[in-house]
Symmetry: C2
Subunit: 429 residues, 2 copies
């Protein structure tokens, strides 16, 4: 078969800091998906993109081509306005769990296609799978029906969405090209746009526990994604939010489900509630729903009702006892003072080592493993006071988790702590 | 087997513009040769090197690692001082043919491991293979014996020299990373240093028919290679030489052998003689031989004697009739004026299309195909005067060769031509 372009000339264009013309973008993504453009050629192109960047309309076309490599969900059968959320990933980030039913309770449909965790950040599906009976796979027909009847679905994305992205993501992982902002943005946005929601809210995390370590990087990523969504006709806004400290008081699958249920019952940690409500307001605005108060829907049980229906619709028992770890280890303070730092990355790695996360895609996660935070930055502690409770199925895991926590928090005698805002900025309108 | 490093961290180091530490350089070349570092990983690293460069000692270590991936020739059995030449490739560049026997005639040993041509530049082995009976393959024992007895061997490099380079070169070819100066320099120098000669002269071509189009690029490449040779203990100098115009009056395998024999007989085009003598002086100086005049050894037949012995030692008949093309086509001038430009690249592509070169490694070349230049820049011509004679085995090839020549030369009525120097500069001492 005769190909209209060749990979070397496409790579050379980007290598020499020029814009790749639209037909070559369409071709290179399609030919890569078909296996005509080889892995080593896409690796060289990805490195050239990382180092030389992409123009706005060039990246838009690239993202469109990624979407075009697969199917696009048809949500025309959904009778409510659709709105979706994506988080770039953090430690203790269980927000999707209370957020999707909350927004559904206020009249929107939330088609939330989610992933599993890798490394130190958890995955929404891993968390929900700690609920006995709950299943992540939902057929297309059930998906639409559940959106109409209940208003929220949290489920696994099918293999048909942006297959080019799945191939490219695996390649980037082994070629040190994960960190290219245009490629991160197009990877996220190609899947989110293909999911067909008419509005989208991005939670772009900044800090030690996030993928973006600096506010400048996070802002660039957020602006890039908002521009891509807008160009594709999806109403898109982003919140930049803090991820120097874990969200809430739990990290780990079943532990985070329990905390989410507390939020849905009108309680829960202040930071989780604050971010859930803030994201709900943005999602509802994107769906054209105003004049409602998400905090009310948490307080009066409407969000909880949707949660229970949503869990039940996917085979789960909302009243089932969640798994509990066989082994616990309490970390206590060696000094008296103020907790001035609790590093999200250290806590994330520790929870991962306890069994809550996976190192490779094939790994199993433990439903019960994780960490309870008994204190948060700003709290005063005395010598011997419990700080953290580690949970694991196997006590052999405590040592390496404790190593990860070393240097991960500071307790300063007579210290003071100035809280930084959880929600740093909003990008897009 | 446990690997001491991982490819992603090595790629990341170069991606982030840092120097790759020596142990990681050694490992990545070795692991790539063993197939542990994947093609896509080396592709990403090559693009990062192309865009971010390498420090001098970093590239030296990289080159050492490439040499270490294979064997190193042992020339300790050679009783004469050894000296070698490498040209970066041009059009009509047959200089190795008269040069090696000339330098041998003056007391040095010339172990000249050569390659075949690809694209618009010819290969020394292709040229010599137009001599009936001549063979490019020489055993190690015969190689040393011929160097001692005759003083010059021009033969094919074995597969054992720098195998990492062969693998990397093939990868660079498909990933638009051929043009990285550090990778070009280490590719050439790893093979040349592994060949074990104690001195080396580089002919770095500049111009339309060369790989380096600008003097600045060529100078950078020459300086990089001289530094690598010097760091490895090989006395190395480079001449920057013009390649805007083809060298001599012939382009093509048997045609260039004929012209080389003219030079060895004391005649031949002035530019070929000038460059042969200039390179001979540098090679002899590198071998510690001074007070000899290469022009004398061309004039009095000493170089020719070595040539005849050298061809005979490798099975060739120096008196055999060389192949002649079945078909000829004469290009005549359409105007009267001065030839002010004769583009080396256009002539090289035309000769390639006539059958003198190959598009892929597997292709056969024609011994007889090529081009005779009847005029050179500065010559006055009249309407209807023959300018070029094209030679091919198959007349169907003339059309595409003529297309390549279109716009490849200028004849200006009343024009003047200011010759530029053939030898632009010398790098190294």
């Amino acid at each position: 078969m005769n190909e209209p372009f060749d990979a070397v000339s496409v790579i050379r264009t980007k290598r020499d800091r020029n814009r790749i013309p639209d037909p070559q973008i369409d071709w290179v993504i399609d030919a890569y998906t078909r296996g005509i453009v080889a892995e080593e050629q896409m690796a060289a192109l990805a490195m050239a993109i990382l180092l030389n960047g992409m123009e706005g309309d060039e990246l838009s076309r690239w993202t469109d081509a990624m979407i075009g490599s697969g199917e696009r969900l048809d949500l025309s059968g959904v009778r409510r306005p659709t709105t979706d959320k994506h988080s770039t990933g953090g430690v203790g980030d269980k927000i999707t769990l209370p957020l999707a039913p909350l927004v559904a309770a206020l009249g929107a449909a939330v088609p939330q296609l989610s992933g599993r965790g890798l490394g130190h950040t958890g995955g929404t599906l891993d968390k929900l799978e700690s609920i006995p009976g709950w299943r992540a796979e939902v057929s297309n027909a059930d998906f639409i029906q559940q959106l109409n009847e209940i208003g929220a679905v949290i489920c696994a994305a099918g293999d048909g969405l942006a297959p080019a992205d799945r191939k490219l993501y695996a390649l980037r992982d082994v070629t040190a090209t994960v960190e290219a902002i245009p490629l991160i943005a197009s990877s996220i946005m190609s899947k989110k746009i293909a999911e067909g929601s008419s509005s989208l809210v991005l939670d772009v995390k900044v800090g030690t526990g996030a993928f973006m370590k600096t506010e400048a990087q996070a802002r660039t990523l957020a602006e890039t994604m908002v521009a891509l969504g807008t160009a594709a006709g999806t109403h898109t806004v982003a919140l930049l939010t803090d991820m120097d400290t874990p969200l809430g008081l739990t990290v780990g699958n079943a532990l985070e489900v329990r905390e989410s249920i507390e939020v849905l019952a009108g309680g829960g940690p202040a930071d989780v509630v604050e971010l859930t409500v803030a994201l709900a307001i943005q999602m509802l605005a994107g769906a054209g729903i105003t004049g409602v108060d998400p905090a009310d829907a948490l307080a009066d049980g409407r969000a909880m009702d949707v949660w229970r229906a949503m869990i039940r619709a996917q085979g789960g028992d909302p009243d089932a006892t969640l798994p509990v770890a066989a082994e616990k280890h309490v970390v206590t303070s060696r000094v008296t003072g103020v907790l001035t730092r609790l590093d999200a990355y250290a806590v994330g790695v520790a929870a991962w080592r306890l069994g809550a996360g996976r190192a490779r895609k094939e790994d199993q996660v433990s439903a019960a493993a994780g960490i309870n935070l008994l204190v948060k930055p700003g709290d005063s502690v005395v010598t011997g006071q419990p700080l953290l409770v580690l949970h694991a199925d196997d006590p052999d895991r405590f040592d390496r988790a404790l190593q990860a926590l070393e240097g991960g928090y500071d307790i300063t005698p007579g210290g003071t702590f100035t809280p930084s805002p959880l929600i740093i900025d909003k990008i897009g309108r």
